[in-house]
């Protein structure tokens, strides 16, 4: 019971740069600073796909990433949500003609999108907080399912 209660309030985030220009990643890193302080909402940036609930994908998917991103999505434990950050992740942006194989939603299912080049940190926090309740309800259903099976 205690474990269930507290796990609702901790969302682990994994940042995946699939070939962007670093701009979105820098804005994601600046979320750690005390001005935005992402940890006060119970969101932790761990960069570990195996314990992540939310995958933040930034950048157009380059050719070496095509299979890797699928593997990474499969490795993430089941109640999971994918957020595409930035213009490149939504539509490949200006790298459409380059060495890329398409936007993120062509490779893996995307649940939420944040437009902007790059989006402001406040917008990213807002998006994660809007998506988080869905992740939590999904997790509750998942936990109930496991409990009923046992």
């Amino acid at each position: 019971m205690i474990k269930e209660f507290f796990r609702k309030r901790s969302i682990n985030v994994c940042i995946v740069n699939t070939g962007g220009c670093n701009g979105c990643d820098i804005e994601l890193v600046s979320l750690l600073a005390s001005r935005y302080d992402i940890e006060q909402y119970g969101i932790y940036v761990h960069n570990n796909p195996r314990e992540a609930d939310v995958l933040l994908v930034s950048g157009p998917v380059t050719l070496p990433w095509k299979n890797r991103l699928k593997e990474l999505y499969e490795k993430t434990p089941e109640p999971k949500i994918v957020v595409a950050v930035g213009a490149c992740a939504l539509s490949c942006g200006i790298f459409k003609e380059g060495n890329v194989c398409g936007p993120v939603d062509k490779i893996i299912p995307v649940d939420a999108t944040i437009p902007g080049c790059p989006p402001r940190p406040s917008e990213i926090i807002q998006a994660i907080l809007k998506v988080a309740p869905i992740a939590l309800s999904k997790r509750e259903e998942h936990l109930k399912k496991i409990a009923s099976e046992n």
């Binding site: 740069n17 220009c21 804005e27 890193v29 750690l32 960069n47 990474l72 380059g98």
Partner: protein
């Protein structure tokens, strides 16, 4: 011998790169780096496009040092077609570049702090950085990809209120940085952690052609390309350097460079207030080819462009500093006693993978043979 693979997604790395450390027990013997995850083919996309589209693409080569790429691109084209830039624009360009250098160095120091598990130090640097981002936003209107430079000048002027705000924030920033320098010098857990780890000497620097803060921390102050830039010559710029060549010296050089940049900004604001006129000239592009070098935050960045008369880019070559610094990493590994030291050494050279992912070709000068580059 065992292999410890790190990446492409790793808690420490912010960018995708795969490092295979060859270890025996805890001792690191060597490394292989697998690149290519962020290669988008920017140079190929730029071919056959107008230079107004080119400057937009050059900004997206790298997100951390986005401004210096547009500056070098614009100056290269100005050099080819003999375009004069107004004084005000020259000073505003240096002002913005130095502000960006401060934010880039602060993020490098903070990631180094996080990688040596001293989270307080890292978060302090990130907090200080937010004030610099505010200044960049007031001057250019954007935080990361600013879109401030055009060929022939800059997009907009700054006013008196902004100058007052910059002076006020710089004073706060100087106090913060002095505090950080004192903590770095006296805090035993921060400074001692990097002493004698990842040492690289003068000989190896000349072998690997390492540039930027890595070279300057190994007693090579003349590697700074700001010494050869016409605007910096007016400011009587002097580079910061150290001679130890280890992790702690590289971070110390970065902290001192931030203080030097604050002095430079104050000098440039005085010069700016004396100058008058517009911030942008009408341009007339002539065809030709040329080369321009600038000091980016990690070392020298080179642009080679050939243009047609209308301003269509025929071919462009971008050389960014991190390639040479990653090559120097091979020699630094010899003085890394443990795996965690190898990781902090990697962070201390402040690699920027988005810059690095160009097609690299090695040319043998004697025989003229070419071969693709691989890190082994």
């Amino acid at each position: 011998m065992n292999v410890v693979p790190l990446g492409p997604i790793n808690p420490i790395f912010k960018e995708p790169i795969r490092i295979k450390l060859i270890v025996e027990g805890e001792t690191v013997l060597g490394a292989e780096i697998e690149m290519g995850y962020v290669h988008r083919g920017i140079e190929k996309i730029m071919e056959g496009k107008h230079y107004l589209k080119g400057i937009y693409l050059a900004e997206r080569v790298c997100g951390i040092c986005s401004y210096i790429h547009t500056w070098t691109f614009a100056e290269c084209i100005e050099h080819i077609s003999n375009i004069e830039v107004p004084d005000k624009a020259r000073y505003l360009r240096v002002l913005t570049t130095e502000l960006e250098r401060i934010h880039s160095h602060l993020i490098a120091i903070s990631v180094y702090g996080l990688s040596i598990e001293h989270e307080t130090f890292g978060i302090w640097c990130l907090n200080t950085r937010e004030h610099v981002m505010d200044l960049l936003e007031t001057i250019t209107g954007n935080r990361i990809n600013m879109g401030f430079n055009v060929v022939g000048g800059v997009r907009q002027d700054i006013n008196k209120e902004m100058i007052d705000k910059i002076y006020k924030k710089l004073e706060e920033l100087r106090n913060d940085m002095k505090n950080i320098l004192e903590i770095y010098n006296t805090g035993p857990l921060i400074n001692l952690r990097g002493r004698g780890v990842g040492v690289i000497g003068y000989k190896e620097i000349m072998k690997t052609r390492a540039v930027g803060p890595v070279a300057r921390a190994s007693a090579l102050p003349e590697s700074d390309w700001r010494l050869r830039h016409p605007t910096y010559k007016e400011l009587k710029f002097k580079p910061v350097w150290a001679k130890e060549g280890d992790n702690s010296a590289r971070t110390l050089v970065r902290i001192k460079e931030i203080l030097a940049s604050i002095d430079l900004i104050e000098k440039i604001l005085e010069l700016y207030q004396e100058s008058t006129g517009a911030v942008r000239n009408r341009v007339n592009i002539k065809g030709g080819s040329g080369e321009w070098k600038n000091e980016a935050h990690r070392g020298e960045v080179t642009y080679k462009i050939s243009l047609t008369d209308g301003g269509i880019i025929k071919r462009i070559i971008i050389r960014s500093p991190s390639v040479m610094n990653l090559e120097a990493y091979k020699y630094m590994l010899k003085t890394c006693p443990t795996v965690s030291d190898a990781v902090t050494t990697y962070i201390s050279i402040d690699p920027c993978i988005s810059c690095t992912e160009r097609t690299i070709v090695l040319v043998d000068k004697k025989t003229g043979k070419t071969k693709p580059y691989s890190f082994k």
